[in-house]
């Protein structure tokens, strides 16, 4: 039994040290490994399989809205990166530079893409001529590089995987509509698939993307009360179009600038899933994102008929469209339980000779640890329902936790007390001046997360920082 416990004991408890708990989970659940390249991670099969599920689901949702996938070069010539002033200021300090190709120095440095607005603009400039060529609704799945100083697996690494959508439209209205549409695709995906509630809203000027007219964001709350920006959607207006001369001939034969958007989600989502749903036994995966949804674990598998019956159950589950596996390794059942829990597999089926004799087995929920007796022959149906229940309840629990960690601050005193004593989102009015945002960040480490769409309460009429008249509600919080 002591040996069976080893896996769980290897992780720090959340209460003791949340950051260490996180690091332990990503390692022990075998999601990542560190590499010889500082700040770059190796995504192992268990981690990559989650990313594949995310990709498949998001890509399907994208295509339903008319998105087409493409692939742009991974390099950006320095002169191209520099074409849009705000953009280059935002990214140049954190890019990796290629200076040599083979044995020869390059005539012009190339950066490894930190994001691909400039490449798409350079392409659209030639590809778009007439209103008939619009809209362009392109996306690519790729990796990008940002030379971060401090890195953490999934949350911030020098290289990460993502998708980046880049669109061009005839009108400002259409661009704004697409920006919001994609934010909603992201939000729905997070809530329906990752069981992770999000706040949808707009970033302040200070926090918006380099070169954007407006940045919209979805913000999730982690178990430790910190916020995580989980997806962003940017409306560029015609700023990039003017910098890159992307014009089309409209129906009246007049030259017009296009209006553009971009939007992205990254492997950071895997970090979000860990920190929203995980517990002291490891990962807890929502069924819709779990590469393996059910692990069948035989007890006394050496006894006659046990493995056969366990295999039958696995096959019944697969026939029902459930991703089920059987652990018939020579480890002890206790060790197998720990592994299944560490990896966050939503349901396990326990089955031994006594169960078979009694015509039943035991289903165990990963999220609540609840044990449910189940008649053999009804397993697949029961598990199907159970997975739906787990998905639904995981979202409800995460939402309840999130809602319990939102509080209202009416003035700066309240704000500072809350920041220190009640981790979570703080709702507070804001006058619109960046100096208040700067001061709050400097003194409390909290940042403005977003100005929410749905939540329009005027919780007071003065700025939570300076006390001057204020009309904008902001969600504030410490963030990853």
């Amino acid at each position: 039994m002591a040996k069976d416990k080893k896996l769980v004991e290897a992780i720090t408890s959340m209460e003791t040290d949340f950051a260490q708990w996180y690091t332990d989970v990503v390692k022990k659940a075998e999601l990542i490994d560190y590499s010889s390249v500082k700040g770059c991670m190796i995504i192992k099969p268990a981690g990559y399989a989650i990313w594949e599920k995310i990709q498949k689901e998001l890509d399907h949702r994208f295509k339903e809205t008319g998105v087409e996938n493409v692939y742009m070069p991974m390099f950006i010539p320095e002169s191209l990166l520099e074409k849009e002033k705000d953009h280059v200021e935002g990214f140049a300090p954190e890019v990796a530079w290629v200076t040599h190709g083979g044995l020869n120095p390059l005539q012009e440095r190339l950066c490894v893409r930190p994001t691909s607005e400039t490449l798409f603009c350079d392409f659209y400039k030639n590809d778009i001529q007439s209103y008939r060529d619009l809209p362009k609704v392109y996306n690519q799945w790729c990796s990008v590089v940002r030379w971060e100083k401090e890195t953490r697996p999934f949350l911030r690494s020098r290289e990460f995987l993502w998708q980046e959508g880049h669109t061009a439209h005839a009108t400002a209205e259409e661009a704004e509509e697409r920006t919001i549409q994609m934010l909603n695709v992201y939000a729905d995906f997070c809530e329906e698939v990752l069981a992770m509630p999000v706040v949808r809203g707009r970033k302040t000027e200070k926090e918006k993307f380099a070169g954007a007219e407006a940045t919209y964001t979805i913000e999730a709350l982690m178990h430790d009360g910190k916020a995580l920006q989980s997806g962003t959607s940017h409306n560029f207006g015609d700023g990039f179009a003017k910098a890159f001369e992307i014009q089309y001939t409209d129906k009246n034969n007049k030259l017009q600038y296009v209006h553009q958007t971009s939007w992205g989600m990254t492997t950071r989502l895997i970090g979000a899933v860990i920190m929203v749903h995980g517990d002291d036994s490891g990962l807890v995966l929502p069924p819709r994102i779990a590469p393996t949804q059910v692990m069948v674990i035989p007890i006394q598998q050496q006894k006659d008929g046990v493995l056969d019956r366990a295999n039958e159950i696995r096959e019944e589950l697969i026939k029902m469209g459930i991703a089920a596996k059987l652990d018939d390794s020579d480890k002890s059942p206790g060790w197998k339980f720990s592994e299944q829990e560490m990896r966050g597999i939503p349901v396990r089926v326990e089955l031994g000779p006594k169960d078979i004799a009694a015509g039943k087995c035991v289903l165990v929920r990963r999220d609540t640890r609840e044990k449910i007796e189940c008649v053999l022959g009804e397993v697949a149906q029961k598990v199907r329902e159970l997975l739906d229940t787990i998905q639904k309840e995981m979202f409800e629990r995460a939402k309840a936790h999130r809602d319990e960690h939102i509080c209202d601050a009416h003035n700066y005193e309240e704000f500072k007390i809350m920041v220190n004593n009640r981790p979570g989102f703080i709702r507070g009015m804001w006058c619109g001046e960046q100096k208040c945002e700067d001061l709050i960040k400097e003194e409390t480490s909290a940042t403005s997360r977003c100005m929410p769409f749905q939540d329009q309460d005027q919780i007071s009429d003065v700025c939570v920082c300076c006390g001057k008249p204020a009309h904008k509600l902001v969600y504030w919080g410490k963030a990853y």
Copy 2:
């Protein structure tokens, strides 16, 4: 009518200039565009959709053999690249070097991966301890960079997309088995899905991968008689394991080196499909790889009921699991036909008011141009069968073309005449000396493509070059 012809007239005929024909097709079928980064291409939606089909099919076949996907960093520290002597010699002259991260010079240069053997070895070194950890059968989908001097879309570019499998095994036998297994996965995929016959065989020492013990290859023949290496699978033996100290404890508690393999296929396959199946009207896609399999084109679509009936047909096709689209744009039918042909869509359905009145429509095969009358109501069933027929016949035609372009050379005189007059594979015996390979290449530009598995004819008993005794049959040819 003159206008309708424009699209086709825009491409050079194959006979006139095959290389120009190829370039015209990739541009006019909108597969790629050139980018501001020399030697790097932009893969447009029509091209990327083919790659997505290739990925989906190959990935499925990989996973059926137990492959798991992972993601490794895109950078390799110089010292890591240098660990295996032959490998670094093969790749160092053609890699891109990152020397700066943000504003600071790096302590050690990083190359952008040209291939990831060294990264996988560095990872396996720590991840593999015991025989219980074996085998590792990992793969990644990513882009790689090789600083080529001359580039051509899909066939040779500085950055390209591929998959690279990297495995580690307990025994030499198991590694060899996996190497051959994956070559067969590649060959079956090419023949069954891309309708492209291949010769399976082994590369000579001169042509094998840098650092490999043995390289196996599949070689396809393009329409112009040149060969294209379409996929390779390498057995490394324990060479990399020794260079990287990748050892495991066997069942007798003894330390052993692992045996490794790697295998890859790239976006070059799209180039192969173009050059095997294309014609003077553009691309011809085998149905199993065509993102759009059927284009429904209405005639006199402004007439009552035509668009409705065309839409119904599209929906019937989709219900049958066929990727069908309707072209209801305001272009002329002739122009739509040209576009559908240029893009290689396997079948088009023509439907006008007279057809509807007669209760029929016309199906047109892209590959043979054959027109087939079809009763409305039987369209989906008929198209389903037609797509299967097209797939089968495209393979048979490509195979017949390939077989017609294989000839046997018994001595160097014959060989030289054939190289100049009969483009294709030349079968010729080889003594095993590299100096014969070198001479043939220097004097004729033909290279040894492979020593075939299946084809064991002893067409003579002397080397086709030097006349000395020879036992190895080699397929020779000019290659892309």
